[in-house]
Symmetry: C2
């Protein structure tokens, strides 16, 4: 605590990202990264942009990337916003759309950054409990609110809401913005992007970090009606005119244009996930119905916290949340087949 | 205006960056970019980082870059913060340190983003007039305030405050944070970084965009007491854990380590500036005493707005501010000698 901090800075409880230990080499299954490298075309595009033009500012409107994203998703460029990772876009979203006079609604078990954003922008938050099976009940989101945000699939539970449920959520909240955070949608879900023409209150947020293997490049995007995209641009242009650097712009365009590589690596992750879930079940674990690039598992006899520590000792990092309702679960990212074999082997030894 | 915007989004007046026209190739002297490419070592370092590891998140603590910055400036890593361009750091600064109950003080003629940040964080702003010679009078910054921010050299006036004046400013405001925005300090000024051990209320902000020729990479840094750096980290970690991508981290470390290239290109810009100022004076212009990589000039007979348009027609972009007190001035970035010859030639033709 410092006398020089603003009341805001003093009141914050910052987010804690997954650990990135440097003491030894781990099998890293703790931050939901993609085990496959980005498309070779991304590497080529970045190499081509690595030149003297780095002395010049990037295009502040990100025109080429906005267009590539719009083309990839069959939208108009006016329905697309791009940012420095989807985390930045989520922060802008809380500032741009959520009404401070009523609580923002989101699940009690979800991405833990949401409550941090709420504090950053002086918003009230109301956490809506998932049901006993960790499902989001859309009927619980009918109460008065200043906005709604729901990840789909949810994290860390990995469970998916079908498009009909998203429609229901939108219909119940026509006067507020409803944000669907689709960081993991490409691993088996159906995107709500198809609904943006129908619901001007819908903002869909996605990222290149997971399904496009580019967590290290920091690019995310949002889809919505023109008025929502303009709202995001108002915040962005009051914060930083140039949020995405020249190399990230070039790499992101190439990633969106290589559909084939994207399908291939995404399918591999899904196949590995299905195999791993069935092997885990053989070991007595229960697992939620994952449509993400991670699984959420629990063992009836082995305490999750203890398993987390034992796996770490064996060089396998997973994520454990010391939090009511899920403190008997582990979140395990899907790695390569070899990495997952090592993980299963470690579990067998334990 | 949209019913879905928050009261904050609706109230903002976003910043407008210098134009980046795409209709033809201009001699671009309008956004204070460096005319020389970044160090070849930067290009090498980025090329080496362009690999499959882009699938992994960057280090959220930016440890290697913080250390390289600390080493370069003779500081402890705890006195260094790094961000996605100095604009992002300035935004975090307004949120972290400025007290909403009293006005933030800054010059009436200065970087126009400051008043945008103030609005973004619901802060009052009090604009302190420069004197008739465009000088900052430190004695005017003794009134009650919630924080002070001053660029040094100031923009767009290009004029420098000596270190004694900075000391005076700090001594008058020991209970508030005083931010010295040194985006242009390397072109002839003396940095206040030497004062941070003495003044725990001093935050110095710098950037790789200007003197390190990396506007396209988006990296800035701040120097200050440990408690100020911790304040910035509290905001950052409530906003986006990973603000700098892997490529920018690699390139920035290399830029800070190539002192020789930095000196060489900076000296060239300074020499060109001095020559251009004397040629402009021969053409009847008056120019402020620039210690930046741009000049601020005015002609007794030629209206600035008209000159701006005529230069544009001749393919030379400069910056004109339609704003009281400086609407007879042009801000002209220092380009290569060839570019500046073309600029002078265009003026002669006009």
């Amino acid at each position: 605590m410092s006398k020089f901090w603003s009341p805001l800075a003093a009141s914050l409880v910052p987010y804690v990202p997954g650990e990135q230990p440097k003491d030894k080499t781990y099998i890293k299954l703790n931050t939901n990264e993609n085990p496959y490298p980005p498309s070779p075309k991304v590497i080529e595009a970045i190499a081509a942009a690595t030149n003297g033009d780095l002395r010049l500012y990037p295009d502040p409107t990100c025109e080429a990337l906005v267009k590539a994203t719009a083309d990839c998703y069959g939208l108009s460029p006016k329905q697309v916003f791009v940012g420095n990772g989807s985390d930045e876009i989520l922060a802008f979203t809380f500032a741009a759309f959520f009404n401070p006079e009523k609580p923002v609604l989101f699940p009690d078990i979800t991405y833990s950054f949401y409550k941090v954003y709420a504090k950053l922008y002086n918003l009230q938050a109301e956490l809506i409990p998932l049901d006993a099976g960790f499902n989001i009940r859309t009927e619980d989101y009918s109460r008065p609110n200043g906005g709604v945000i729901v990840p789909n699939p949810n994290a860390p539970t990995a469970q998916l809401l079908p498009l009909d449920a998203i429609r229901d959520l939108l219909s119940r909240n026509r006067d507020q913005v409803v944000v669907i955070d689709e960081a993991y949608i490409d691993f088996g879900g159906e995107s709500a992007v198809s609904l943006i023409d129908e619901y001007p209150n819908l903002l869909v947020v996605q990222t290149l970090s997971k399904s496009r293997s580019l967590a290290g490049l920091r690019v995310g995007f949002a889809f919505g009606s023109e008025e929502l995209i303009e709202g995001l641009n108002r915040i962005k242009n009051s914060f930083n005119s140039y949020t995405i650097d020249r190399l990230a712009l070039a790499g992101a365009v190439a990633a969106l244009q290589d559909e084939e590589y994207f399908r291939e690596t995404t399918d591999k992750v899904i196949r590995t996930r299905e195999r791993v879930i069935s092997e885990l079940k053989e070991l007595g674990f229960k697992a939620t119905d994952s449509k993400a690039n991670f699984v959420f598992i629990s063992h009836p006899e082995k305490p999750a916290k203890q398993l987390f520590g034992q796996l770490r000792e064996k060089g396998v990092l997973v994520r454990y949340f010391e939090q009511p309702r899920i403190d008997e679960y582990l979140r395990v990212s899907i790695g390569t087949d070899e990495e997952m074999d090592a993980f299963i082997q470690a579990l067998k030894e334990i």
